[in-house]
């Protein structure tokens, strides 16, 4: 069977893969969120690939709407990729299997605020990977609040 074949069990419905992509298509942050699942079927590499491939769709969709939240921009088998583009062209990408648009929108909005605050630190330059432990804890808390 094909190495790319993805299969999702019913128990896998609450898994999310989140990436922050800076201009120039550089990922600066990524995190796997799993709530009450037995584990994901595809590898991290596959998730990264799917999200990266969705970036082209983001570039198309971004011109068709005035809002930052682009909602679902791409689909791959049973996963969806939703996107949110900030005014500085930073893309918040979320790969998910469950379709809960409201939760996703709220998640994106809160992470956007968190990201804007992280930018204010004098020791962080835009485009660099975000290494702050506090940032990671807060992203996890936001995800837990909306998806957990």
């Amino acid at each position: 069977s094909c190495a790319c074949r993805l299969s999702y069990s019913a128990a896998n419905m609450s898994s999310y893969f989140f990436v922050i992509v800076a201009p120039g298509d550089k990922p600066v942050y990524s995190e796997d969120f799993r709530f009450g699942t037995s584990g994901r079927e595809e590898s991290m590499h596959m998730s990264e690939f799917i999200v990266h491939a969705a970036l082209d769709h983001v570039d198309d969709t971004v011109w068709r709407t005035g809002s930052m939240n682009l909602r679902v921009v791409d689909k791959f088998n049973d996963s969806f990729v939703s996107a949110y583009v900030t005014p500085s062209n930073v893309r918040l990408m979320l790969m998910h299997s469950a379709r809960n648009e409201d939760s996703i929108r709220n998640f994106f909005t809160e992470v956007h605020e968190l990201y804007a605050k992280a930018l204010m630190s004098p020791f962080y330059s835009p485009g660099e990977p975000i290494k702050s432990a506090v940032f990671q804890q807060r992203v996890q808390a936001i995800a837990k609040r909306h998806f957990g």
Binding site: K117, A118, M120, S121, P122, F123, Y124, K131, S132
Partner: protein, 185 residues
Amino acid sequence: MARNLQRAGELAFAKMEKINSEVLTLTYGSIVAQLVKDYEDVEEVNKQLEMMGYNMGIRLVDEFLAKSHVGSCQSFRDSAEVIAKVGLRMFLGVSATVSQWSQDGNEFSLVMEENPLHEFVDIPEHLRGLYYCNILCGVIRGALEMLNMRVDAQYVRCKLRGDAHSEIRVKLIEILEDQYPEDDE
């Protein structure tokens, strides 16, 4: 003569011209970030910040005395309270508490619960030894030197390092006496 230093601090702060706090924190943050880039060694950056603060302190003290109307201090204890309640309040917008006096009365701690310079700052792992607000230690040293007190001021706790509050330990090294000419009679 009892004087309400808290009130003096509030009045002095009210008289000062204000700027947007984000401008201050971002400007200070850029200075520290640039020093880190230029010197690359955290200890050297701490030293440079302290020296910058010293140069500020020797100049600020005159403005402080002119605008705050606190009059002269009767003792080192008095000086400590004035710095905490009036000086810091006037220039930084937040006041501190004086605590942990040593037995001989020559050392004390300035404890700050909050500091506007800390806003949004996240110190990365490789800069662990950085005392981000070390400039304040220099300001205290410079200001007190102009008033004939030679002190040593060091950070012992910092909120940005995960401690509950920020604390500067100030030690009096010597009082420099004014030299007066001998009286003829």
